[in-house]
């Protein structure tokens, strides 16, 4: 039980750090959001009075007159009540509503693509590591090319070849705009058709890392005594591969899920931009270009929470899969 308590404790600290970071960034950095917005307003010919300034400061939730500590308590209080402020670019929509609209797109896309990449990479890695010396194995270093390819560039190439030249997939968007979003077969098929290209990008760009990690662990697991014992017992190679070698070799891949998820989320933010996908990433970039600070912070918070949550689940699962972690702590 101690293991789970420790893990929960860590995630509470991480959550607090993320919240505080989100609070501190706008206050620590040189640019003042209120000034930037007012400058924009002035450029468009608006008049700036002290009242406008105050109104903007209140709108952004950064009331300068209050001491920092009170601002912090207010900020946390608002978060607890699920109040992330009002979005400027989608005025008068609440930030939470804007996020709720775009979150499912990203969660489904990144979720499915990551699981596919992980399963594919781990399976391939297990087979390649199982038989070192085959022609497949000597091609392994070439997968580093896939790992070093920038996500968005791969997206551009795929879009060029598969969408523009071959015309198999639509170039942009999340679904056919003539359809109404809803739970009907036609809409879901359209969403799958539009999501295939972004998903393919994420899978291709992240499968190499999984493959490599699994293959390296497989190689070191194969020289363990228990694998030798299993072989000596006369177990069929398939049983040894499945129940002895890959099971143990998979552990670091599971633990590494945390780090790779962060990378995938980062990559998909920009990939969504290439495909104008209606997910979180596109909204985040839109918020940045429109100086929509409340939306920006809200999105960052939601992305961080999602990654933290996924990590927590993986960590708890890891404790179940590998009893040693529980015994050690």
């Amino acid at each position: 039980m101690n293991y789970f308590l420790r893990k929960m404790g860590f995630y509470v600290v991480a959550l607090w750090a993320a919240l505080t970071l989100n609070f501190a960034i706008p206050r620590l950095l040189p640019g003042n959001p209120v000034d930037i917005l007012l400058a924009k307003l002035q450029q468009r010919g608006g008049t700036v009075t002290p009242e406008t300034r105050e109104a903007y400061a209140l709108l952004l939730g950064g009331d300068d007159s209050q001491p920092l500590w009170n601002q912090y308590v207010d900020y946390l209080n608002n978060l607890v009540h699920g109040d992330l402020g009002v979005s400027v670019s989608y005025y008068p929509a609440q930030v939470t509503d804007v996020i709720a609209q775009s979150l499912p797109w990203t969660v489904v896309l990144v979720g499915i693509a990551t699981v596919m990449a992980a399963v594919l990479g781990v399976t391939l890695g297990a087979f390649v590591g199982w038989k070192p010396g085959t022609w497949l194995d000597s091609l392994i270093p070439a997968t580093t090319l896939l790992a070093a390819v920038p996500y968005f560039w791969l997206a551009l190439i795929l879009a060029y070849v598969l969408a523009r030249v071959l015309g198999w997939f639509p170039l942009q968007g999340g679904y056919d705009v003539v359809l109404d979003p809803g739970w009907n077969a036609e809409f879901i098929l359209s969403a799958i058709h539009y999501g295939a290209l972004p998903a393919l990008t994420i899978v291709l760009a992240s499968v190499g890392g999984w493959l490599l990690g699994m293959r390296n662990m497989m190689v070191s697991t194969l020289s363990e005594d228990y694998v030798l014992t299993a072989e000596a017992k006369g177990l069929s190679p398939r049983t040894v591969l499945r129940s002895y070698a890959s099971r143990n070799a998979m552990l670091p891949s599971v633990a590494g899920f945390a780090i790779s998820l962060g990378f995938v989320v980062s990559g998909s933010v920009i990939t969504e931009q290439v495909f104008s996908y209606p997910g979180i990433g596109g909204r985040l970039l839109g918020a940045v270009t429109n100086n929509d600070y409340a939306l920006m912070q809200g999105l960052f918070l939601v992305i961080t929470l999602a990654v933290l949550g996924a990590n927590l689940v993986v960590d708890l699962l890891y404790g179940l899969i590998d009893p040693r972690t529980r015994a050690r702590s």
Binding site: V149, R164, S266, I270, D322
Partner: protein, 355 residues
């Protein structure tokens, strides 16, 4: 989280030593001292070195050999030709010239961030683990927290708050370094923990050496391969991160990197106009440079984990054995053409060798 590798370490060292001894007996000279820290040459390492070397040279000397990357001509979007080896952009700018300057910019920022991130991770990883106690707990908690907070969204938010005018090269470099040091700090911490309790470190401490001296003289040399490999990773991550940031228009202002090239290509509708010569080269340079660095890292990994080297040698032996087996079978078949048994026998032997 668990680190499974330290448990294997003693046997690894033994195997590596056995390998050395075996080579010694075979007549080859043992590799001594600093030579042990250099990787063995393999075809893939050669490929990596060539890729990194060529791209670095292109970044250093390329800009002197090409024309002005900003010069606008009235030949927009011409495909590659003898005059313009990589064609022109929408406004008739020479893509090759832009590529040369952009490569230089990307390499600069990669190097800068690589150094900064490695310095940060070395401080948090090595110093914390060396001091132990509260400092270690605090530093390792800090790096774990930074590890689970997704980097790029954080960088985007930070860049969004910094006004465009004050978003210089150094700002971007510092932001990228601050968000990317955590993973290597963890690796370095694990390594330092295994080194810091060795006898010679204890002896040095007992004889009254100052902490910085113990770290720099006694501990650091043991970590050099690990630091080198982390540095290489940091450079790749930095170049990729900067490219992503510039691609969405949040990079350093007035900088020319491969990311900004892709930004202009995307905003100039290179994709829908079919101008592949505009957006393919910048990404390819990033991918090839990253691939080269990863291949070099493979060889550095072999120094850190000698088991991988044994594996490579084992694999070479297996390949050689399989080849011999095949030749033998062929010779067999040639000498006794009408004997099906021989083939079956050879196949059986092959299977044994494949095991």
């Amino acid at each position: 989280m668990t680190n499974l590798s330290p448990a294997n370490e003693p046997s690894l060292v033994d195997e590596a030593e056995a390998e050395e001894v075996a080579r010694d007996r075979a007549g080859g000279a043992p590799r001594s001292g600093w030579r042990m820290l250099l990787p063995t040459m393999t075809p893939w390492l050669a490929v990596g070195l060539v890729l990194v070397g060529v791209i670095t040279l292109f970044g250093i000397f390329g800009p002197y050999l090409v024309g002005d990357p900003r010069q606008i001509r009235d030949i927009g979007l011409t495909p590659p030709s003898a005059d313009f080896l990589l064609g022109t952009t929408q406004t008739g700018q020479d893509v090759l010239a832009q590529l040369a300057y952009a490569t230089r910019g990307s390499l600069q920022i990669g190097l800068l961030v690589g150094v900064l991130a490695t310095a940060l991770s070395a401080f948090f990883g090595i110093y914390g683990a060396y001091r132990g106690g509260f400092a270690d707990e605090a530093f390792s908690l800090l790096s774990n927290v930074f590890l689970v907070i997704p980097g790029l969204p954080l960088v985007i938010v930070i860049s969004g708050f910094v006004p465009r005018e004050s978003r210089g090269l150094w700002t971007i470099a510092v932001v990228l370094a601050v968000t990317s040091w955590a993973a290597s700090a963890r690796v370095l911490r694990a390594q330092t923990l295994s080194v810091r309790n060795r006898d010679y470190v204890a002896a040095s401490k007992v004889s009254g050496e100052k902490p910085w001296r113990v770290i720099v003289v006694e501990i650091l040399p043991n970590l050099l391969p690990v630091i080198a490999s982390q540095f290489v990773f940091a450079v790749i991550a930095a170049i990729l991160g900067e490219a992503g940031l510039s691609f969405i228009g949040l990079g350093a202002s007035n900088s020319a990197t491969l990311g900004t090239m892709l930004f202009y290509a995307q905003n100039g509708f290179a994709l829908s106009l079919g101008a592949w010569w505009w957006f393919v080269p910048p990404g390819l340079v990033i991918a090839l440079f990253g691939m080269g660095l990863s291949l070099i890292n493979f060889s550095i990994d072999e120094i850190i984990n000698p088991k991988l080297k044994n594996l490579r040698q084992h694999r070479r032996r297996a390949r050689k054995a399989a080849r011999l087996e095949r030749e033998l079978a062929r010779a067999h078949r040639r000498s006794r053409p009408q004997e099906p048994d021989a083939v079956r026998e050879a196949d059986g032997a092959k299977e044994v060798s494949a095991r």
